[in-house]
Amino acid sequence: MRIVVGIKWVPNTQAVRFDPETGTLIRKGVPSIVNPHDLPAVEAALRLREKTGGEVIAISMAPPPAVKGLELVLGMGVDRAILVTDRAFAGADTWATSYVLSHAIRKIAAEIGEVDLAIFGHETIDSSTSHVQAQVASWLDWPYLYYVKRVEPVGGKLLRVWRELEDYEEEYEVETPAVLSIAIKAFKPRPVSLSSKLRAKLEKRVLTWTNADLKLDPRCVGLKGSPTIVAKTIDMPEVPRKKEVYRPKDGKDAARWIIAKMVHDEKLREVLKGLVGGEL
């Protein structure tokens, strides 16, 4: 099987801090990482390859520094990696991103060999939309399943796929080529072998494709090719709260203060009424 895995290079949102003085996000110096939810997708692809043979190709549409992320997954055992990068792709929404990625997958199929499966994470930590994979599936007209927890090859072009909805677990038979999106933490990513990561770096095993290779209409990519635009951003409006803070002498003092507040707060009084089973 030839499996393509989509990974996104994202700012480590956990490291983004809020500057209360200026009321803005401090993004400067925030390091980027491979979207953590994509590593289980890489793992799922590697396990499938171990069962069926073939190869795993990671792709990412991102600015050049994302090469580091692709080297990381090469270190996990991915066979090759393709960085799809061009100034023209900047500012893309999920529509324009999926457009470029689906054309990259077509190019892989045309030049490297038939693609059987495209695997994605369930969402990214910076935009968390879960759109890109569904949109890629739509472009390619391949079947798509979201929130997959297990995949097994059954032979030929068939896969067994288990996925989870809010109230159901479902088992499917899926004919490839197909698109799957892996549930949160469904596969534990294997550690990166530093020597293979280094080898990947030295051998420059990350291919770069620009729009000179993909030849997409500039009106369909990047900001121009994005149907959605951000009209403006505002600070999240604050919810009005009482903000009373108490420094108690000890636990008992704290407990009594909390209960007193509850009694004197009309809303919370209801909660206490439930406790005593009647009027207060």
């Binding site: 983004v16 759109h131 479902e170 499917y172 951000v230 009482k242 909390i258 206490l272 005593v276």
Partner: protein, 361 residues
Amino acid sequence: MKVECDKLCPEWPCEQPEEFKDVWVVVEAEEGRLNEASLQMLTPGRTIADKLKESLVGVLIGHGVSQLAEDVIKYGADRVIVVDDERLSTYYPRVFGNVVVELARKYKPSVILAAGTRRGREFAPYIANALKAGITADCTDFDVDETTRDVLLIRPPFAAILLAYIKTPFRRPQIGTARPNVFPVPRRDEGKKGEVIFEKANVREEQKVRLISRERLERAKSGVEKASVIVSGGRGIGGPEGMKLLAKLAELLGGTLGASRKAVDAGWADHEMQVGQTGKSVKPILYLAVGISGSAQHMLGVREAQRIIAVNIDPEAPIFAQADYSVVGDYREVVPALIEELEKIKKGGRKALEELLESYT
């Protein structure tokens, strides 16, 4: 605004926004019941439709769903388009999505909303792409630009500290989803009348995917979405033992347990219990946050809580500026004492309470 066709991506059909009208809500149904998260989308749908002075239309697709159409009207739709077809008895994203696409090509709605359920996250972007339209996920609010009549799809990007106003000025329909429980289910109006339109669709059967089995998950529903009291534990709880203590407090208050993502990631709580941007949105009377720092992502899930009480050991904890009543202290002292005092009140009733109140007015 006049769309200049030669400037658009040639993949996009060149259409003018004024060709499109009405606000659609795609309503999921399962086993003869309407999906609650889908019904919730009728709430913002109504607001948008009223601002645009257009109709709110429910779209109901499946097998044996016809009898649910009147319910969708009672929850606020002016019209319901029904496709009831045996070939839709099993849901497949492409099949379901293509029916919506076919209807949308015929009726040209200006807006399509769907709930961000797992299925919604699967079919909504599929529909958007097939229609070559923009889509915005996880909206927390919607508005309408009075001059251009563009819908503003409002969502927190990135770190939940900002709100982005997103619009799709050159493409219709404007598609958006919201996570379950961000909006309330509209009040049911038994007297509401509306029109039901039965449509036939060219259902394209799914050749490549076959559902083999499905099993109802008997997972303990955390119930945080509906709880009126939630006691939530964070990283500061330090381990599963701490969660047990919180469970005791929750039970005493007639509530349920919640958790921050760090507590879930640590394995002390189930993902179903996670509150916040990537977890559940909750609206209890009381949200008691214990050992939770108050990150923007967590607090996004509790904006609708009527009161927040926080217990945190760090006097600088950001949650203190976002709660109603906070105590600075070690939860290992505060929570057992709180349980003890509440038990006293439970046993002693009013008298025990009065005694306590004497020293705290």
